[in-house]
Amino acid sequence: MAEETSGIKVKVREFGSGVKEVSLKNRVSVGELVKSLGYIIEEYVVAVSGTIVTEDYLINDGDEVVLYPVVSGG
């Protein structure tokens, strides 16, 4: 669920890959963030600032989001 703010920035790191900064118009949930990146939430466990969260967790400005891929090949 989006919440009106003046815009926020978060750091997103897919585990094992580099960090990218994502600018968002509004606060969004973890599920919405993952979807906006083109991913399927089923395929990730998400941690925000070191704590595992559920997909309805609302992202804050400056949060560090880590995506742990569920799907692995091997």
Partner: protein, 317 residues
């Protein structure tokens, strides 16, 4: 932000199909209950069993090794546990994952046996894939890898006197395999998709899947919470080429829009495996290598022959 349905602490996991949110403590209890139920209901492990655990070094198999060793301490059933790793010979991939298995086995005080394609077949998977390409054979790398790996797991588990071979196949794996076999109209393979595959041949080591009812997302969470999630992302370079890769993606898309779909597909599988008229292949003995087989010549020998890696004179008499 969801709170735990049991204690109201911050939740880390939501069972969407059941409308239940769980904190770390209650997620781990839920996970343990689920796996123990599978083990108990299907009599996966007996007293004084020598459990050989197939460990690739990925999050699922590391979790199974960690879970079983801890369960062994609680259950006090006299189990002996050995980790078995197959080194297929995939450059830039398997070296990293073997290191993880060595570290975890050592920290858990578990014996580790490593068996390689090179030692048993004379060629690494990379070499096999190269030869296959040169010969214009129609197989994907995962075909060779899967067939040779299953062959070696059984053979080596038996050689080290294992009484049961446990693999980390979870519900996602099982459901994907079910669908792939439906697409291929291969009902004899569907018949084998049970939590325990009992001895169909005197040389076949009973094969069990303790994570049969656990979702891949749940094994991932278990791995993260127990510090088992690999610190470096290493993916098999051949995996995205497989049909399974596509099936998995489609299933995850569907699960997102229809939570519980994987569970209902699993129920469908359970119905299918209980049907008496579902064909099951008879256990035979491969006339080339003497190992258990569904055909006169096992799949591993058939592939090796097509690759030109096996002389027909090797046929056992």
């Amino acid at each position: 932000m969801a709170n735990c349905s049991i204690c109201s602490k911050q939740a880390i996991y939501v069972i969407k199909s059941g409308g239940l949110a769980l904190c770390k403590k209650h997620f781990l209890e839920y996970f343990d209950r689920k796996v123990r139920r599978t083990i108990r209901k299907n009599k996966l492990f007996r007293k004084n069993e020598h459990i050989v655990i197939a460990v690739s070094g990925g999050k699922d198999s590391l979790s199974l090794l960690h879970y079983t060793v801890n369960l062994s301490k609680r259950a006090r059933m006299g189990w002996r546990i050995t980790a078995l790793t197959i080194d297929e010979g995939i450059s830039g991939y398997r070296d990293y994952t073997i290191k993880r298995v060595e570290e975890l086995s050592s920290s858990l005080g578990v014996e580790l046996k490593i068996a390689s394609f090179k030692d048993y077949f004379g060629y690494t998977l990379d070499e096999v894939v190269k030869i296959s390409g040169e010969r214009g054979l129609p197989y994907l790398p995962c075909t060779y890898c899967g067939v040779f790996r299953r062959y070696l797991l059984n053979r080596v588990a038996r050689e080290i006197s294992g009484t049961v071979l446990a693999t980390a196949h979870h519900l996602d794996d099982v459901v994907q395999t079910y669908l792939i076999n439906i697409f291929n109209n291969n009902w004899s393979n569907i018949h084998k998709l049970t939590p325990s595959l009992t001895s169909i041949h005197k040389l076949f080591v009973r094969r069990v899947k303790p994570f049969y009812e656990v979702l891949e997302k749940e094994t991932t969470l278990y791995a993260i919470l127990n510090g088992l999630y690999p610190s470096e992302r290493t993916e098999c370079p051949y995996a995205p080429l497989s049909f399974r890769w596509q099936v998995r993606r489609v299933l995850n898309y569907l699960e997102e829009s229809r939570p519980g779909l994987k569970y209902s597909t699993m129920k469908s599988l359970m119905e299918a495996t209980s049907l008496k008229n579902v064909a099951s292949s008879e256990a035979m003995t491969c006339i080339v290598c003497g190992e258990p087989s569904s055909h006169e010549v096992c799949k591993a020998c058939q592939l090796r022959a097509e690759l030109g890696l096996l002389e027909l004179r090797e046929v056992k008499t």
